[in-house]
């Protein structure tokens, strides 16, 4: 048991850790509510909070830059997440349950991808996309996001599916369920959490991507938010839209923060799988 003194020390340590982790995020959140006159004031909290920064990116001057990229980000991330999750589920099911001579090779081929530097694929893809007309289009980003998330999704889902007690399916059939009912009632509830976790991680990868976003797009037709934010800073050497940038940074990080708060356990287990067992 801890003594009171020790408890106080640990509590202080926890507080220090919390400040360390949350302070920068809190700082930009506070900045995003400052009017431009207060940006250099040096106070942490805005003395007269305003929504003008959010107005400028959602309805004002910067909206053309920001809103179209937000639409691109949401559309591209959701489509690639859904497609990758469906494909990865099918593949992982096949690997976990069916015999196939080259099964191990298939698994190794997808696992090996995780060590490839993403950036080394960008120049060749840029070239290919220019040739076949996918440069600066939604499919031009959806395809690389899928090929980026498929390997890790297949890997985690295969591990997950192997732990499912598939005999339940036969047991249900013995009890009189049809093949479909058995699958629907016995297997889907067990498999759903794994698929969900995998989809969450796939979404993060697509939503946070920056390399493909800046290299494979050139206009607001397909440019996602992270790339548009870089464009914000690059083009504004003389008059920095500092307030607008802080508001945009908050908007782009909020979905991730909310998902992490809601599904902390699943995300951590999905991302750190196999860490302790080696």
């Amino acid at each position: 048991m801890l003594t009171t003194k020790q408890k106080v020390w640990w509590a202080l340590g926890t507080v220090a850790v919390l400040v360390y982790a949350l302070f920068p995020v809190a700082a930009i959140f506070a900045t995003s509510f400052k009017p431009s006159s207060e940006l250099t004031s040096g106070t942490f909290l805005p003395s007269s909070p305003t929504l003008s920064n959010y107005e400028s990116i959602l309805a004002g001057d910067a909206q053309e830059l920001f809103l179209s990229s937000l639409r691109n980000s949401i559309g591209i991330s959701v489509i690639s997440t859904v497609l990758a999750s469906i494909l990865a589920t099918l593949a992982a099911y096949a690997i976990a349950r069916l015999d196939f001579p080259g099964k191990k090779l298939v698994l190794m081929t997808s696992l090996a991808v995780s060590i490839f530097p993403v950036i080394s694929i960008v120049t060749p893809l840029f070239n290919l996309w220019r040739t076949i007309g996918l440069y600066d289009t939604w499919p031009g980003l959806i395809i690389p996001y899928m090929s980026l998330t498929l390997p890790i999704s297949i890997w985690t889902l295969t591990a997950f599916f192997r732990q499912i007690p598939w005999e339940l399916e036969q047991a249900a059939q013995v009890d009189g369920a049809t093949t479909y009912q058995a699958f629907r009632r016995a297997i889907v509830p067990l498999a759903a959490p794994g698929v969900f976790t995998t989809a969450l991680i796939a979404f993060f990868i697509a939503w946070n991507d920056f390399v493909y976003g800046i290299s494979l797009t050139s206009t607001s037709a397909a440019r996602p938010v992270p790339a548009a934010l870089a464009f914000f800073t690059g083009s504004s050497q003389f008059e920095e839209p500092t307030g607008a940038i802080s508001a945009a940074a908050v908007v782009v990080t909020i979905p991730v923060v909310v998902l992490v708060l809601l599904f902390q356990r699943q995300i951590v287990s999905g991302l750190t799988q196999g860490a302790v067992k080696g």
């Binding site: 640990w10 340590g13 926890t14 850790v17 919390l18 360390y20 982790a21 949350l22 920068p24 995020v25 700082a27 930009i28 940006l39 250099t40 040096g42 942490f44 494909l87 990865a88 099918l90 593949a91 099911y93 096949a94 349950r97 069916l98 015999d99 196939f100 099964k103 298939v106 081929t109 991808v113 060590i115 490839f116 530097p117 950036i119 080394s120 694929i121 960008v122 060749p124 290919l128 220019r130 899928m146 090929s147 498929l150 390997p151 598939w166 036969q170 993060f204 939503w207 920056f210 992270p226 934010l229 870089a230 802080s246 940074a249 991730v256 902390q264 991302l271 750190t272 302790v276 080696g278």
Partner: protein, 315 residues
């Protein structure tokens, strides 16, 4: 109809039954067909959009080629020679080494400290863990922007704190050494949560009775750490060191956002991007760098696989 083969309830009859064998063979080939149908599209995508580009990269690395140009000259290994002999190439290795070492050591040491603090049953434990982990999954661009606001000499909070202490804020973006220090700090901040969470999983798998026994023998918290916890965390530390090296060598977003044109922060991955998509558009040289980076990452991973296979089975 994909069903796992079940052991036959009755022993199969000795007499060959041609009909039965044909049925079994067609069942096998149907299973193979199902497998190809289910896994095929995935493999096709991965081959076409990861392996094929990677292979074309090897060819590009032998060219003197401007990005997007229709023609290119074959220059053989000249790009590789340049990377290992030019002073700019030497600088890339220096910066990569400093950045990787500093971020890996920084996030692993600080991550362990954070994990030790959070490895207690105190109220708010779950929230603290989530808070520490969150930066790891935030977008690198968002994180870079957040810290730009802190480091900015004019409006940044750090500048204000320094001025309040009677110091003037250095210009983090102009001095190459300071720029490198800045991106290292930010990268450690982002990556630390991952290390902490992995350490926590490792700490929780340490049997409680071992720690109690150490306590009964009079070991204080420090002694417990060095004599019980750290030795048992061996596999975790090793796993982390490899995954952290892999991710540090691929860090890009923060570097590109905080130092857009690279200023003392040209790690190999950033240089690959700048050479190809930056002002130079030297796609051939960039491809050569990418090939070398791939070889380095491959070696790091191969070492891990060997070591893990040999060492981690003691449990």
């Amino acid at each position: 109809m994909a069903v796992t083969p079940v052991a036959p309830a009755r022993p199969a009859p000795r007499v060959a039954d041609p009909d039965r064998r044909r049925r079994r063979r067609s069942a096998t080939s149907r299973r193979h067909l199902t497998f190809v149908l289910l896994a095929g599209p995935n493999i096709a995508l991965i081959l076409a959009f990861i392996y094929f580009p990677l292979a074309s990269n090897v060819y590009y690395s032998l060219l003197d080629w401007r990005l997007g140009a229709r023609t290119a000259d074959v220059v053989g290994l000249a790009n590789y020679v340049e990377l290992f002999t030019s002073s700019r190439g030497f600088d890339v290795w220096r910066v990569t080494l400093i950045f990787t070492l500093a971020t890996v050591v920084g996030s692993m040491v600080l991550g362990l400290l954070v994990a030790l603090v959070l490895d207690r049953n105190l109220p708010g434990k779950t929230f603290a863990r989530t808070a520490v982990f969150a930066p790891y999954v935030l977008s690198g661009v968002g994180v870079g922007l957040i810290w730009l606001f802190i480091f900015d000499p004019r409006i940044g909070l750090l500048g204000h704190v320094l001025r309040a202490l009677g110091q003037s804020s250095p210009n983090w973006f102009i001095d190459p050494t300071l720029a490198l220090v800045m991106v290292i700090v930010v990268y450690v901040w982002k990556n630390l949560g991952y290390c902490a969470v992995v350490y926590l999983a490792g700490l929780q798998s340490i049997p409680k009775d071992l720690l109690e026994a150490a306590q009964l023998d009079g070991a204080g918290p420090v002694r417990q750490l060095f004599s019980v916890k750290l030795p048992l965390l061996g596999p975790t530390v090793f796993f982390l060191s490899v995954t952290c090296i892999l991710s540090s060598m691929q860090a890009f977003d923060i570097l590109r956002i905080m130092t857009p044109t690279g200023n003392g922060t040209n790690t190999i991955i950033f240089e690959i991007f700048l050479q190809s998509f930056g002002a130079y558009q030297r796609a051939g040289y960039s491809a050569a760098l990418a090939v070398v980076l791939f070889v380095v990452l491959f070696v790091v991973t191969a070492v891990q696989l060997r070591y893990v296979e040999r060492k981690v089975h003691y449990r």
